[in-house]
Symmetry: C2
Subunit: 449 residues, 2 copies
């Protein structure tokens, strides 16, 4: 059956999550969820597939080839696997209309899909954390969503020497492009070109820039400006001045700087005219988080999108937010030695119950384990036929159990032998006291039996 | 734009999860995950879509109309949204082959999809908890997965008066059908008919039973046997004897009864010849969990499937497990008054910070909130322009914050006023002591400032 061999693998660009992979996924999600909740965001989610038109209404039919789309067998309606979360978010906000509390602070952790050739850091299915504030026009909202992103990354062990929040503004980018002669009606196209410039061969970039009306000197100037970055503790106005851009084009970034400062975030930030974001719907601040060495794709991207909810027939709603995927983030953490890639992120058993094989011990093995599970403990025991105590201790160690309970002959006298495997200390405990003893020991108490 | 109105809703049979809905989803998942981990199961997951053939190889092409299937635009490969998790599981087990630890105890919480007309309790997308033990042929594995299912349901507040584990065996069902004259090669078909009998009009059931070779008297007898159920504390053999079936056909259930008893589960169980499960791959024990009144669809279904891993070219592997979806379970919990349907399942803020509007208070609002978030607390403050303290206290109460910190004039003297909103007690605390004070108070300590 060699011809069907491929069906025994996950489809291209899709992932199987074995326990160690799942532990990493939980580790990331835990950091994401914790940062979101600490900052007062409520979790939402939506369907895994949407009406195809939800994507085409915003991006045009050109987007269809990047989507996995389908109909129900014999059906008429076009669906597409969710490619990004923002259209779902805008739809949900629009559906609630004016009944929503303002501001609406929401986060979501959906699976997203892209019908592309898989590349390093970019798979066909990935999980993406989305954080958004709707209903606040001021820079305090932009600063707050950046704070949430940075809090999660700090929670994962990354500091300002590992990650940089690179911030710009669509107004600054438009100013820059206008100064170089790009006409107003080709701005969106020009943003797209700048966004992908690092991935294009330079001759392709030059050619496409020329098609937008830039001279060779303009291309060089664009290269210089988009390659220009200053650290967050300097005023954004200075980068505008350097390049002869109007200071007003970065006025909103000055206000943002002050809000970032209140949250202690400036050491993580750079002002960077090379950031524009590819998506058409951004209207103001735009930002990305990159690894400091620039070795990976962007870890997160976001910005302000004040027009989007209205596009979905909701009330006019200022909004900003970001998305952060799991794939690049896991690559970066592994690169920094912050993911062990072994079982150490898997839940540790509280108790491993061993049996000597004596009748009374055997009779007690399952009921005792059941009782300890009923009070909330993570309990394992061997499933092998062997009753060799040494082998059972090995099994207990390999799953990293904290406490071993040995059921032996002394069960007949109502006693068991208990070993704290971390402390390598052993005790005799009566069966009647066992659950209390274990609970206290796990809580850090050093009971003597 | 009335014609595009439908795109502003979730597709038919798909769900939007607003914060209250999401809190319910987390409540169920938390019970599922906790029961799984306590019993020593490791979490896995797989891709949201698989190769279409992964489903047709097992079920034939007839399954295709029940799947959402598609190709990548311009591609050649057929994919289908994951309809059940077991094929993915079998594929993952087969891929690891003999390198897996035996037994393999795995659980997963995937989203699954059905291209059917949505019905009460049956949607096009749902989340399903799957728990499986691979590598154990004996009834201790069947009992253990039943124990996990019951532990989760008990964790959600359901007792033996709410839910019943209805257990049978494919051997007993085959015995019963053979006695009625169903030929060996039509057993799978007959299992399918019994499985759906409660949903079929009786004349359709009679007609289809006749097509399997049953006389009118046989149909009546089948009805009687499949409608027959005895409580778990009675021996399974007695139900066989009542209907003149060979006692050997329930011998494995006798062994299962003893394993269930060790785990204290018999009060939750019934022996029920009406349970066969519709899926073709079950080979032994089969069981479903229903609400005791029979008002809803099955809450969970599972059994033994010893031949499946081999079908996916893995080593011969005895296996058993079950699936439990979120839709029927949530309906039952709501019916029993065990889901509040309001915000009470949403995370409670630890702290709500209020500002009187004085300059020093305003300057402190965000840095103080940031500092408390940095030590792991869930902190909110008003985003409204008002600095009316009464209105801010209302906001704190409506999000059910535990502690209110009021920043007023006394901030100038390094002091804040703190209110424990649950205890309705108020304290003056110095800014330097604040985070320690709050941490202790939340941990249950009754600090006096």
């Amino acid at each position: 059956m060699a011809s069907s061999r491929h069906i025994f693998q996950a489809p291209k660009g899709m992932r199987d999550f074995f326990p160690e992979d799942m532990a990493i996924r939980h580790h990331l999600e835990q950091a994401w969820r914790s940062a979101s909740i600490r900052h007062g965001f409520d979790e939402i989610n939506g369907p895994t597939f949407e009406h195809l038109e939800l994507y085409t209404i915003k991006s045009g039919d050109g987007i269809v080839s990047e989507l996995f789309s389908f109909q129900r067998s014999g059906g008429q309606t076009d669906y597409a696997l969710r490619a990004e979360f923002t259209p779902t978010l805008a739809r949900m906000v629009a559906a609630k209309g004016r009944s929503l509390t303002v501001p609406t602070k929401w986060f979501a952790i959906p699976d997203l899909f892209r019908a592309e050739r898989p590349q390093k850091g970019r798979l066909r299915e990935h999980r993406q954390w989305n954080v958004d504030i709707l209903g606040v026009a001021g820079p305090e909202a932009d600063a707050e969503v950046i704070a949430v992103a940075v809090a999660a990354l700090r929670g994962l062990g990354l500091g300002p020497e590992d990650i940089r929040v690179r911030i710009s503004h669509r107004g600054a980018a438009a100013s820059m492009l206008a100064a170089l002669g790009v006409p107003e009606d080709r701005m969106t196209e020009a943003f797209g070109l700048i966004d992908k410039r690092e991935k294009l061969p330079s001759e392709v970039f030059t050619e496409q820039a020329a098609a937008l009306g830039l001279q060779a000197s303009g291309v060089a100037k664009l290269d210089e400006m988009t390659g220009s970055r200053i650290s967050g503790d300097q005023p954004p106005a200075s980068i505008a001045k350097t390049h002869g851009l109007p200071v007003e084009s970065v006025a909103e970034l000055d206000a943002l700087a002050s809000e970032l400062d209140k949250r202690g975030l400036l050491p993580f930030c750079d002002w960077d005219l090379g950031i524009v974001r590819g998506l058409a719907y951004y209207t103001g601040t735009v930002w990305e988080i990159h690894d400091a060495r620039g070795a990976f794709r962007a870890i997160a991207g976001g910005g302000r999108y004040d027009g989007l909810v209205e596009m979905f027939e909701g009330p006019s709603t200022p909004a900003c937010g970001f998305g952060m995927g799991d794939v690049v983030l896991a690559l970066l953490l592994a690169d920094r030695g912050l993911l062990d890639g072994d079982v150490s992120l898997c839940p540790r058993p509280d108790v491993f119950v061993l049996s000597s094989g004596h009748d009374q011990a055997e009779d007690l093995l399952v009921p005792l384990s059941t009782g300890l599970r009923d009070i909330g403990l993570h309990v394992r025991h061997t499933w092998k036929a062997t009753r060799n105590i040494g082998k059972q201790f090995k099994e207990a160690a390999s799953c990293r159990a904290r406490i071993a309970v040995v059921l032996g002959e002394e069960v007949g006298r109502g006693m068991v032998s208990v070993k704290d495997l971390d402390a390598a200390e052993q005790f005799d405990v009566s069966l009647g006291d066992l659950s209390t003893w274990i609970t206290r020991r796990l809580a850090g108490g050093v009971e003597r039996a």
